[in-house]
Amino acid sequence: MGLFIKLEWKQMLRSRWMQLVAVLFVVIFAAISLIQQMAMPVEGFTRQIASFLNLLLFLLPLFTLTIGSMSVASDIESGWYSLLKTYPMSIFGYLWSKYVAIVLSFFLILLLAFGIVLTMSGITGQMQLPPVFIFLSIFMVLIFAAIAVFCGVLAKNRLHALSLSLVVWAVSLLLFSYILMALGTIVSGTMLKWLTIIMIHLNPAEWLRFGYFMFSGQTTVLGPAFYEFTEFYTSFFGYFLFIMLSALWVIIPLGLANWILSKKGREV
């Protein structure tokens, strides 16, 4: 399996698309960091911090989902997966190797982006890279890489994988929130609060956004309506539950992908 991970990782790094994504991400990340210098250095959830967070929420899931899902779909479409089946490797072994290769490739992009931001921050002394962003990015790659593998397995071909990824991205980043905001105009405030809490658990993007507020100690940003909810999640058990539920966001998509591929196996 180690050899296959290495091979997959190498292929990912050689991919022109991956290289382009790396450049794009690093440039935008550095640009936003430079813009950050405009703000006065204060604690809390400022517009610059929000921009940083949104940049991560918009770009990392998009890149991870598209590249990850297309990589898996391409294997199935090109017959590479059929060839691999002739080797003594389980379906889960294949999926796990793909997952690890995607995660490692994106970790490298993050390392590059954080390296540039830290270098610039060393020179100017004004930029910030809060550690919580580093952990949030790692969590983001871990979760969305698993969803990407699931989308790839679900897709019939690369184009289908791309469209599936875009749908998942749009739903989790935008549509889910818009639907809830629209519902808020017809339901009571308490109902809106409970629907939001349910959405936080069902939507990986919101889950990670909430994780940012939890781990940065800024849950008060979410407003007094969520006092009890955030109090619970900022307890020891809350942190434990957060880690467990995050792990489920990795295990469930990979498990489902394994199940689907096992069923599909006879056809591919």
């Binding site: 006065m40 517009r47 390296g115 969520f226």
Partner: protein
């Protein structure tokens, strides 16, 4: 043999005369001091309380420490004039000083540690409290007292005091002609709390990490200038809360990192001008009942929401907004198109607090971009028709060099490039 006996008798008698002086109670010492005289307390611990009802100056030595042995304050100044307490240290007591029905009282350089409450002034006039430091007890705000509290008094001056970890650092109720300058309030519920006050001047105060920096309730004729209001970041926090207040001037203050810079309700005839609002969640929040307020010449930088309201008739003019996207073709320093601070999401948040969860979320950022296009035609609500192109404040910061960040950055960057190249080549 007579010589040594005489000497012994002399020293014993000295001891006899000296002992009672330092053994006098605080009250006895005060009683023995003539009117208008100065009493210098001994360098020892006093665990007692005393009442002052005559003109007197009391000072402490380097080792003087005052504690109350009951629920009563250490000093009660009652029906007195011309009383000065200077350089005294108080420890672990319910209250240090209570002033009642007195005038010309001066408290100078007092130090208070682990106190439930510091100073309370009732029905008095011409009271000056300066250079006082107070640290309250640990625990919930409800279990703490006020730092400096003034009730039904006039001509009060509070300056250069530093109060932390109490319920309200400076509380003033039913007061007239109050000057509060150069004070510090931290980690308390309210920094400055004015109730039913008339004629307030609060200048150059530094208010940090309180629930609310300045709370002005049912007050009128206040001037709040040159204050630094930062990191009021708790649930429902704000820099200033102006509730049911009128004729208020808020000028040249700096609001940074607050949940809401200025939160107003039923505010009338307020002038908010030449302030800096930087990196607040919401800079200014008006409500419908506000009337005839002006927001002019302020700098709005890095706030998530600049001005929000559920509909008010405030005048917004000549402010600088860092998110203004207009041009200044005639180069007169004023934007050629109006700035609309109105955001649908901001209005929703005022009406339904549960919406706050979505603040600056990706969905809301997109929504705000659409709003900017549709709100261009807005004429009435939260419109600044003369937005400034340059801020009035200087936001330049000093350049500095961080060797560790640079080192880590270079290592991370080098490591990433090395790993990538190695991965590609293998």
């Amino acid at each position: 043999m007579k010589g040594p006996r005489f000497l012994m008798a002399f020293f014993v008698s000295l001891l006899f005369f000296a002992l009672p002086a330092s053994a006098d109670t605080l009250q006895q010492q005060i009683d023995k001091t003539p009117e208008g005289g100065t009493l210098k307390l001994f360098d020892r611990d006093y665990m007692e309380t005393a009442v002052i009802n005559k003109p007197i100056t009391i000072t402490g030595g380097d080792e003087t420490l005052l504690m109350s042995d009951s629920d009563k304050p250490v000093f009660t100044i009652k029906d007195a004039t011309d009383v000065t307490l200077k350089g005294l240290r108080f420890l672990q007591s319910g209250s240090a000083v209570v002033v009642k029905n007195s005038s010309h009282v001066k408290l100078d350089g007092l130090e208070m540690i682990q106190m439930f409450s510091g100073v309370q002034v009732y029905d008095s006039s011409d009271v000056t409290i300066k250079g006082l430091t107070l640290k309250g007890i640990d625990g919930q705000f409800a279990s703490k007292g006020y730092g400096l509290a003034v009730f039904k008094s006039n001509d009060i001056e509070l300056s250069h005091n530093n109060v932390t970890s109490v319920q309200d650092a400076y509380y003033l109720e039913h007061t007239k002609n109050v000057t509060v300058t150069d004070n510090v309030a931290t980690d308390s519920r309210y920094g400055l709390h004015f109730m039913y006050a008339d004629g307030i001047k609060a200048e150059r105060n530094t208010l940090t990490r309180n629930v609310t920096g300045i709370m002005l309730m049912l007050a009128k004729n206040a001037e709040l200038r040159h204050n630094k209001i930062s990191i009021q970041w708790d649930w429902n926090s704000s820099g200033f809360t102006l509730y049911n207040a009128e004729n208020i001037v808020v000028e040249q203050n700096t609001f940074s990192g607050n949940r809401t810079g200025i939160l107003s309700q039923t505010l009338t005839n307020a002038q908010i001008r030449n302030n800096v609002f930087s990196s607040n969640q919401t800079a200014i929040e008006f409500t419908a009942a506000d009337k005839n307020n002006t927001v002019e010449g302020n700098d709005f930088v890095g706030n998530i929401l600049n001005i929000r309201s559920d509909g008010s008739d405030s005048i917004i003019d000549k402010n600088y907004y860092d998110d203004y996207g207009g041009n200044d073709i005639d180069e007169n320093g004023v934007g050629d198109t109006q700035y609309v601070a109105l955001q649908s999401f901001g209005q929703w948040m005022v009406r339904e607090p549960a919406y706050q969860y979505f603040i600056e979320s990706p969905a809301v950022v997109m929504l705000n971009q659409m709003d900017k296009q549709t709100n261009r035609v807005e004429k009435n609500q939260l419109v600044d028709s003369t937005p400034m192109m340059e801020p009035t404040s200087d936001f330049k910061k000093e350049q500095s060099f961080h060797i560790w960040a640079l080192l880590f950055g270079v290592i991370m960057l080098g490591g990433a490039i090395f790993l990538w190249r190695k991965g590609v080549k293998q």
